[in-house]
Subunit: 91 residues, 5 copies
């Protein structure tokens, strides 16, 4: 999974019918200190994440393994909101 | 999903039979301000997107989860046309 | 899907038994003007593409969605031969 | 699979219900001499790996093929703890 | 599939039980002239490839489509040993 911050929302009225009711969030990948990395991914929200929150995004076919995303044409899903990281890197 | 702009169409008469009737669009990834990024992807259109429109492209096995693409040999599908983005990036 | 040109063939007599009879082509990704990009991918040919032809390559699990590749250990399949591209990029 | 070192843990109380009880480890990819590479991935631990250990991480749909991860929304799983590498690179 | 050379072996006694008996090889990607490219991937061997041999590696869910890897948590499998390449690149 990738670590990122929710920075916005995509509005799309014309979309595949299976996506009706899905919230499409824009997620900026972040470093371990939460500073932004380049790029972004559009992900369906499965856990009620709000703008500014640090989240985990699951990609690929596993993005369809939540109740809110099963059988849907989505390849990225927010499936956790991060409380904190414990880092103990050694040399 | 990736954000992109439809910039053209691929014509291919010799193709896998499951692709008969599919429209193959060329999508240029774009930044959050819709400026073009390097590269492009060829995607099947599932929502009637026209050239110039900003779209979302789903990749991988999830690209087969629309009515127009199920069981087809496609790894990228346009499954939404974007109306607008709300960005609220914080530092 | 990625756009590429067939530039050669891989010969391999010792391979997984499911690959018997499959043609393994070497495909160089190309730009929209067909100039070569760096790198290459080895793909199974599902449409009878010859060396020099411009093709589309499908990757991932979708590479197994043609009659010639189903249930085979392949992650890239040539599933279309390109006639032409219509590009209408706008600024 | 990628080779990496466990460098920390992610704490997340609000997450998809299927992830209850899963340990989310932060893995830094490493070179063959175990020196760190850029970037990191968040992976579910299926083998009881501790911080500092060198591990293998499986990605994509195959990340769901362990007893601890089946049918879960995870795209990266630690499925082996490395004892040693034998390298015999030739020119 | 990617083209690479087997350069070593990973030893791991603590691993997911489905991996018992699997050989984990280290594969360095190579150019078309077999010179090494940066990076490496750890792959399960399905064809009896030895160190120094040039092989094809299948990735993603297709890596589970050999008899030796089905239903296992592996995302890269050596499924062919290369005899030779025929390259006919045209400008």
């Amino acid at each position: 999974m990738i670590l990122g911050r929710v920075i916005g929302t995509v509005w799309a009225t014309r979309k595949d019918e299976k996506l009706t009711g899905s919230t499409l969030q824009i997620v900026r990948p972040v470093e371990l200190d939460y500073s932004p990395k380049p790029g972004f991914v559009v992900a369906v929200d499965a856990v009620g994440a709000g703008v500014g929150e640090i989240v985990l995004v699951v990609q690929g076919s596993s993005a369809r393994q939540t109740v809110k995303t099963q059988n849907k044409p989505v390849d990225a899903t927010i499936m956790a909101i991060v409380d904190k990281l414990d880092i103990e890197e050694q040399g």
